[in-house]
């Protein structure tokens, strides 16, 4: 098979699964699930086959989509190293999560729909990854958003899920609008949207500097929205309303990763655009610290992981913004493994114990799930950046990149964020695995509702991902070669403080939460104001609701009033005036025949008098 056919198979096999599950096999959920898993297997196989084929091919054009003022825009695949790597990760993680969902979603009335939407998601994400041109990427980028909207709102009967789905869509849409305008500007500046062509230095050089900066900023808007960076990050924690495997899918290799991937894809452009990288770094560092501080005080396990995702995505952007494609993509890869693992572990606990609350999990004996707990510990250690697990290597390379580019506030910010990361990660681990008798944390209000035992189909993906999370860190050189970027090997001098900081975080967490009779109270509770601030997520939701929501609502109300009052009013007024005139003249129609005749004669007389000239 040619690579084009393979790419078509890889991207569109899940679409077949989606169609089958949503339309044909609605009443046969098991068959729908099987079909989708088969489709994902095909995708993974095709992705691997593409990888096994030759590297760095020119884009394969499948067909012409449309032409804009003579510029042809085609549908095709770009199969270079970055895309190949990402494709394999997406297919692999999606497959793991689908297998996991077999057990997790058992008994749900929307079983077939769930797998169908999964197929839709995988199709959109894979097609996005292999896109040959920016417009195609944008199309599937939007479709990824659509699929995530449908998956977050999967349990649509929960008002919170419906609201979260809406929020996710709107917040990402805000970013997308910026990206869309950027796309149009790029098109009109370069007369091409072909990614390979766009990334050539000569093309980039042809764009005026100010315009390039503008385009880069607009594209970055899309990244901010999709990858949930400050200030558009608030949708992501709410997106936890979806089923846990969905969260795993959204937060590891798809959806949020799409933003970072886009940045990586357009790395040359962002590097060429003057002044943009500083803005990126500022936003990333703000996001990293902001999300990490919020994660410190959450009790909901999925929320902790959600904020950690935001924070880690910010790390990736830190690496990319510092100019190292390698660091960003490397962290993207390792993060995909350990974050998917952590979410699947969380899902297993939630499934078995029936609560999202970490304290409840601990008290209900979460530690008894041996395999899951092992996965949790390894995943957490990877997230915290403890050697020799996956997160350690990638995070070190990001720090190294920062050192190389900006040995200043950003580095210290990154140190702070990684300390917090280690702290909240192990706070989570200790809360779940080492319940303390002396804990001051109150029990949850709701009784837990267990769904059932963790099945084999759930354990298998956890096991695979555990291996991945442990080992992915050694793939650094391989990845560097694949994406054609220079690998960064931090010196021991650079490594030491990072390791020390991560260890410090773990140790603080241990003393506060992990000791035999720890009070399980974080140091931040001593500063009440900060605690509340973090607890309430910096009041950003409220501010957005009040300010942006209120503003839009106000304008809309004014428009509605204008519509009713002014425009409709004018129309009605014209109509009513006509009717009133009619009524007035109708009153003259008294029904008095003789009055009519008399006035008619009189008029004739008057007429004759004047016209006749008498």
């Amino acid at each position: 098979m040619s690579s084009g056919t393979l790419a078509l198979l890889c991207t569109h096999a899940p679409l077949v699964g989606c169609f089958g599950a949503l339309v044909v096999l609605r009443r046969a959920p098991r068959a729908a699930a099987a079909l989708n898993i088969l489709a994902m297997l095909a995708s993974l196989g095709a992705a691997l086959a593409i990888f096994a084929g030759s590297n760095h091919q020119p884009p394969t054009i499948i067909s012409l989509w449309l032409s804009s003022e003579g510029v042809p825009i085609s549908f095709g695949f770009l199969l270079d190293g970055t895309n190949q790597l990402m494709g394999i990760i997406v297919a692999l993680i999606a497959l793991c999560i689908q297998v996991y969902s077999l057990g997790y979603m058992k008994g749900d009335p929307g079983y077939a729909r769930y797998f169908g939407l999964h197929g839709l998601f995988a199709w959109a994400m894979l097609s996005f990854v292999y896109s040959a041109n920016l417009l195609q990427a944008f199309v599937f980028w939007e479709l990824v958003g659509l699929a995530s909207f449908l998956l977050i709102g999967f349990w649509f009967e929960k008002p919170s899920a419906a609201a979260a789905a809406k929020k996710a869509f709107v917040m990402t849409r805000i970013g997308d609008v910026g990206m869309f305008i950027g796309l149009i500007l790029l098109l009109s500046s370069t007369s091409t949207l072909d990614i390979a062509q766009l990334m050539q230095a000569s093309t980039l050089a042809s764009i005026p500097d100010a315009r390039l900066t503008l385009i880069a900023l607009l594209l970055f808007c899309g990244v901010v929205g999709k990858s949930a960076q400050f200030p558009l990050h608030t949708w992501l924690p709410d997106a936890m309303e979806g089923p846990t495997p969905v969260s795993a899918l959204l937060h590891s290799a798809t959806m949020v990763a799409a933003g970072v991937f886009l940045y990586a894809r357009f790395h040359p452009l962002f590097v060429a655009a003057e002044g943009v990288s500083n803005i990126v770094l500022v936003i990333a560092i703000i996001t990293a610290i902001l999300a990490a501080t919020i994660a410190m005080v959450q009790r909901d396990m999925k929320r902790v992981l959600a904020y950690s995702s935001i924070s880690q995505l910010a790390f990736m952007l830190l690496g990319l913004g510092a100019g190292s494609l390698y660091a960003g993509v490397f962290h993207l890869t390792t993060h995909a493994f350990f974050k998917a693992l952590l979410f699947l572990c969380a899902g297993a606990y939630i499934h078995q114990i029936g609560s999202n609350d970490m304290v409840t999990m601990g008290r209900q004996g979460a530690a008894k799930l041996r395999l899951v707990s092992a996965g949790l510990v390894i995943g957490a250690a990877a997230l915290a950046g403890l050697p020799p697990l996956a997160g350690f290597f990638s995070k070190e390379s990001i720090l190294a990149a920062l050192h190389g580019a900006h040995a200043n506030a950003f580095v210290y910010g990154a140190y702070l964020a990684s300390f917090l990361t280690a702290y909240y990660t192990f706070r989570m681990v200790f809360l779940v695995l080492r319940p303390s008798d002396k804990s001051v944390l109150p029990a949850e209000e709701h009784e837990p509702h267990p769904h059932g035992d963790v099945t084999g189909s759930m354990k298998l993906p956890i096991a695979i991902l555990t291996v991945g999370a442990a080992a992915a860190g050694f793939a650094g050189d391989f990845i560097a070669k694949l994406i054609g970027a220079k690998a960064l090997h931090p010196t021991y001098g650079e490594m030491a403080p990072a390791i020390g900081i991560a260890l410090a975080g773990v140790i603080v967490a241990f003393f506060e939460f992990g000791r035999k009779d720890a009070a399980q109270q974080g140091f931040i509770t001593r500063v009440g104001a900060l605690d509340t601030l973090f607890e309430r997520k910096y009041y950003l939701d409220e501010i957005y609701d009040k300010v942006a929501g209120g503003l839009v609502s106000l304008i809309a109300s004014v428009s509605a009033v204008v519509e009713r009052g002014v425009l409709d009013g004018t129309g009605d007024l014209a109509g009513n005036l006509t009717i009133a005139t009619g009524d007035a003249t109708a009153r003259m129609q008294s029904g008095r025949l003789q009055l009519y005749i008399g006035s008619a004669v009189l008029l004739i007389v008057v007429f004759c008098y004047f016209v006749g000239g008498y």
């Binding site: 067909s63 012409l64 989509w65 449309l66 032409s67 804009s68 003022e69 417009l135 944008f138 199309v139 599937f140 939007e142 479709l143 659509l146 709102g153 649509f156 009967e157 929960k158 008002p159 899920a161 419906a162 609201a163 789905a165 809406k166 869509f169 709107v170 849409r173 805000i174 609008v177 869309f180 305008i181 149009i184 500007l185 098109l187 009109s188 839009v552 609502s553 304008i555 809309a556 109300s557 428009s559 509605a560 519509e563 425009l567 409709d568 129309g571 009605d572 014209a574 109509g575």
Partner: protein, 483 residues
């Protein structure tokens, strides 16, 4: 002869309908549906017969002199735009007839009026003679009054009257302007092709262009004379809403493309700025008002205003991209709104309310019927994979390039349209299932047929936009080149 056949098919169906006794309502519906299917087939024939690469701008031409004294002839022909619009009307006609399968009130009269409407619309899309163009235009507009006033709901007399008054006001602007063109040209002909060859003085074009643009603009839902359209949509019965928003509003935009711009290119070039500003108002304002509506159909009505704004914006860009996008948007929006109203009509016919707050969790009770609405909603938000995405994309590309301010504002309108659409989805289809609607019947295969056809069309053009874009490219190029 095929274009005549397209007009004559609904006409024959109309006569047949009048001959069938009123009690035989199944037969009447079947006649309309059959006529719809035949017109779809004929439109498809036209589609394949039309050669987009030919140098002849208008093809499949038929011409018979009618009143030589005044230069009136029965002159039919289509360019790519006409082909696409004919197809749109055929599709909406077919699916509209199928959607009204459950109608019980005065079936015969209903279908007679609907067929009259369809005849008029087809006539407008294929006429090349100004006289017949205007004649068919009025034929299409007039049946709206009885259709809404008799079979409508929610302040139907008010809506019908409002609609008629607005449209008549539009015609009142249009008619003298068209006659003035006829006299001013001195060619003693209503032949639009010949008239477009005549060069009117620039001052005259600038003077008369707004009359024609606004005259047609009323029907296209142009801000600020769009008031009739949401009210009319709300009051009209399902298939009429479908035809009304799906096709009738397109007549306005089509008129601008077919009459105003080719005949008065200098006027178009002079006025495109202000009219583009108004079109931007359409987009943003329509979406904002939709955000505050509680009635399903009002939301869709104002979203139509917003979407027609995209059409008008595209037209006023006077570039190939803009006009091509506008034409494609006319098609996509037509199919999409038809789907919207079809989906809402199905729910309303059972629930007898359209207040989104009264519903909740409809996806639970009637998953397939809800899915139709949700798909239409996604299409309305401009989600890729549906035809409207490409149309909006092209218009926005043109707008951001030509008039960046309006372009950016229009793109920002996308956020608002996502907001109001999601608001409806959230309140009515998601959330806790309201037990009140437990007894709602979901669609049967027969009910699903028209909606499925519309969705299929949307997705087909959503993935292969070139099908339509290649068709209209040469016509649009000729149009844009003339200005």
């Amino acid at each position: 002869m095929v274009l005549s056949a397209i007009i004559l098919t609904p006409l024959a169906a109309l006569f047949l309908t009048l001959l069938i006794p009123a009690r035989n309502d199944k037969a009447i519906k079947a006649v309309s549906a059959l006529a719809g299917a035949v017109t779809v087939a004929l439109a498809a024939y036209v589609w394949f017969k039309f050669d987009p690469y030919s140098t002849a701008r208008y093809q499949l031409v038929e011409r018979v002199e009618w009143v030589p004294t005044f230069g009136i002839s029965y002159y039919l022909g289509v360019d790519g735009i006409g082909v696409l619009m004919t197809m749109l009307n055929a599709i909406v006609f077919l699916t509209g007839a199928l959607s009204m399968w459950r109608l019980e009130l005065r079936v015969k009269e209903y279908f007679a009026f609907m067929l009259t409407l369809v005849i008029g619309v087809f006539g407008v899309f294929v006429s090349l003679d100004l006289f017949f163009f205007f004649f068919f235009y009025e034929v299409a507009v007039l049946p709206m009054y009885p259709l809404i006033a008799v079979w409508g709901s929610t302040r139907k007399e008010y809506a019908a009257m409002k609609l008629t008054l607005y449209l008549m006001a539009g015609s009142a602007l249009l008619f003298p302007a068209l006659l003035s063109i006829y006299y001013k040209s001195g060619l003693n002909t209503f032949d639009m092709v010949a008239l477009s060859g005549h060069k009117f003085s620039e001052a005259y074009q600038i003077f008369v262009y707004p009359f024609i643009y606004i005259g047609f603009g009323v029907l296209a839902g142009m801000f600020p004379v769009h008031g009739w359209s949401p009210t009319g949509h709300v009051a009209a019965p399902t298939a009429v809403s479908m035809l009304h928003a799906g096709v009738l509003m397109k007549l306005g935009a089509f008129g601008i493309l077919r009459v105003a711009m080719p005949l008065l290119p200098a006027g178009a070039a002079y006025w495109n700025g202000p009219f583009a500003a108004l079109a931007t108002c359409n987009i943003v304002y329509g979406a904002l008002v939709a955000l505050k509506q509680d009635d399903f159909k009002f939301v869709i009505g104002f979203s139509s205003v917003s979407h027609m704004g995209i059409v008008l914006l595209g037209i006023n860009m006077l570039t190939i991209d803009g006009m091509g996008g506008a034409v494609f948007q006319m098609f996509a929006h037509g199919v999409m709104t038809a789907l919207f109203f079809s989906a809402v009509g199905f729910i309303y016919d059972q629930a007898h309310t359209r207040d989104i707050h009264e519903f909740g969790g409809l996806s639970k009770h009637v998953p397939i019927a809800s899915a139709f609405f949700i798909i239409a909603g996604l299409c309305g938000m401009g989600v890729p994979g549906f035809a409207s995405f490409w149309a909006e994309l092209l218009v926005f590309i043109a707008a951001v390039k030509t008039m960046p301010l309006f372009g950016v504002l229009a793109v920002v309108g996308l956020i608002i349209s996502a907001l109001f659409m999601l608001r409806v989805l959230k309140h009515a289809f998601f959330g806790p299932a309201n037990p009140k609607w437990q007894g709602l019947r979901d669609v049967t295969a027969w009910d699903a047929l028209p909606r499925a056809i519309l969705i299929a069309v949307l997705i087909l053009f959503g993935f292969i936009p070139r099908l339509a874009l290649a068709l209209i490219a040469s016509s649009v190029r000729a149009l844009a080149g003339g200005i």
